[in-house]
Symmetry: C2
Amino acid sequence: MLNFDFYSPVRLVFGRGSEAQIGELMKPLAKKVLLHYGGGSIKKNGLYDTVTASLKKNGVEFTELGGVKPNPRLSLVHEGIALCKKENVDLILAVGGGSTIDSAKAIAMGVYYDGDIWDVYEQKSPVDKALPVATILTIPAAGSESSGDTVITNEEKLLKYGYGSPHLRPVLSIMNPELFFTLPKEQLAYGVADMISHVFERYFTNTKNTDLTDGLCEVTLKTLIKNALIANKDMDDYNAWSELGFSGTVAHNGLLGMGREQDWACHEMEHELSAIYDVAHGAGLAVLTPGWMKYVYKENMNMFVQFAVNVMGVEGSYRDPESIILEGIARLREFFGKLGLPATLSGLGIGEDRLEEMAKKATHFAFGNEKPLGGLKKLYWQDVLEIYKLVK
Amino acid sequence: MLNFDFYSPVRLVFGRGSEAQIGELMKPLAKKVLLHYGGGSIKKNGLYDTVTASLKKNGVEFTELGGVKPNPRLSLVHEGIALCKKENVDLILAVGGGSTIDSAKAIAMGVYYDGDIWDVYEQKSPVDKALPVATILTIPAAGSESSGDTVITNEEKLLKYGYGSPHLRPVLSIMNPELFFTLPKEQLAYGVADMISHVFERYFTNTKNTDLTDGLCEVTLKTLIKNALIANKDMDDYNAWSELGFSGTVAHNGLLGMGREQDWACHEMEHELSAIYDVAHGAGLAVLTPGWMKYVYKENMNMFVQFAVNVMGVEGSYRDPESIILEGIARLREFFGKLGLPATLSGLGIGEDRLEEMAKKATHFAFGNEKPLGGLKKLYWQDVLEIYKLVK
């Protein structure tokens, strides 16, 4: 186990009706809130009314900015920063999924940042201050409600970059699984693929002596897989959504990766797909992950046997580890298929013409300072290209 | 799953050499620290010197109060409160095990409390303010480094009561597993029994649809059991102590109990033993827990089958659940035996003469307002007496 520093001060208020507490919970935290949301579904399903009524009842003023799109755009972030400054906002309340929360975090940093906040995503300048962010989650997927991470798409440059800081952990996240009932079925699939990937990125490691976190990862994966299939059959199953939502938060608050070298190659490879083709992040991950597994498993066969046996329930002769591993990968792929997720880049509508460009961007080779991806196996642009081709 | 509210803002700095960071970590948090510790082992093993040198180097002033005993005493708490007021202390740094940390929390509350802080433990008055507490853990056991709980013994009244508040969560806990190498072997056993019990108290529940937390509990239990046996054979095994220490923190930061009705009967029954006979808390738990299991398992056979199979690895015919359950309990008892823990009250030096008195105190029957213990099965004083007798 490696040395670590864990700090996750996000208060999680969970359960039926919890969103109606928002005003009461905001009152000690903020005088004026920016209510940040997406395409307006919260106005149709009544959530907007519940939230604004609760804020008003508790005397919390608010201004609002909707219009966050999946793969949230830098231009709206700029708009939000200007609005917060003009209106003297002291907390940003993101009501939505990961895109809305990530956009809120970018705005929260931008209010205190002297310059274009995109600099921070390009690692040109760190931030040491941000407005507090609170969330009411409407899509369990990105884990942004518990993490200090944000991913923003620069639509002019066709770049999708992430940034992480302890200052970006939400102070409060509210999660009512009932709010997930009305999601389109593909959002379940995308969300589950993303949550599973958040565990994978921490789970697949060469670090030894990690009993507790190995087990925590495996349990979270099994809970996600089991309950995804239940929710896929009945989108109104409160218990299944509860497990998915809670697991998604645990998957990404950092705990499962403590004391382990982490990977994150699949996430970085996927960001290139989303940035250029605007595909759903979870769909991209579902395509890439089995390909990545096939490409890297020989680097650490024992780790992949453990995955196949402990998570995917593969039985067989340990004297033939490769067959166990390949069966584990096949079962994962089969699971994604049951949720309706594509298996190939062409299934995502992505051709072969820009694979090399994406591989070179993902590894920063294109920018003249190649940084290989991954922890379990270091991936250079040629490796990334091979993985893209494996799942073309 | 039940609704819940989870908030665990304890920063955990973990690993080799981490205690040497204390001064740097304290600097932004405090000008004057009360260094609180136990019987002086930290002076023999060099920890005291490391800590004070680091505080001095970083310009953090400190005053000190040693002498905390196992089952920490109210009289020393009173002394600490007076000292903190006199010296204008603004943070209490507990260097020790659960007793030292619990004592520090009592002092932290007492500084702001107008009256005898024992009132709070008697539930006469809640507290809404406390000095911040930081910890350097020297014994993985009580989980007090991650919890908002404190247990104090009133040595005049022979009462041992607990109190919990979000204000009592440490702001920072430092854990270097190397500091555990020099513990006496029985401290390993007591600590493991306590950590396991913290999971059990959350695990055994009648709440349904708790996939994630069931699994998190089971993984934590299996990690504790496996690594306790390794450390028992080699007290210098860094990896085993790492797993035990990290598991102990996860066991008691609240996460594993979220969304579930919890139990806590064994802890409350044990507090009576410690209060009167001053036995080690973990030893008392190791005696009582298998007795409690035998007394209550018929209340929820499926829960105990799950424990036997998923945690203790029992195989057998599910058509005979009782034999699976009893084998699970027997294996737990066998595990405690391997660590050298006693199986009976007489093994703890406790006779039969005060069992009824303890049963009546544990349930508050003795104080005229009986409150049954437990969640899985409500236990009245007669039930508690039966359990004491089962393990006499």
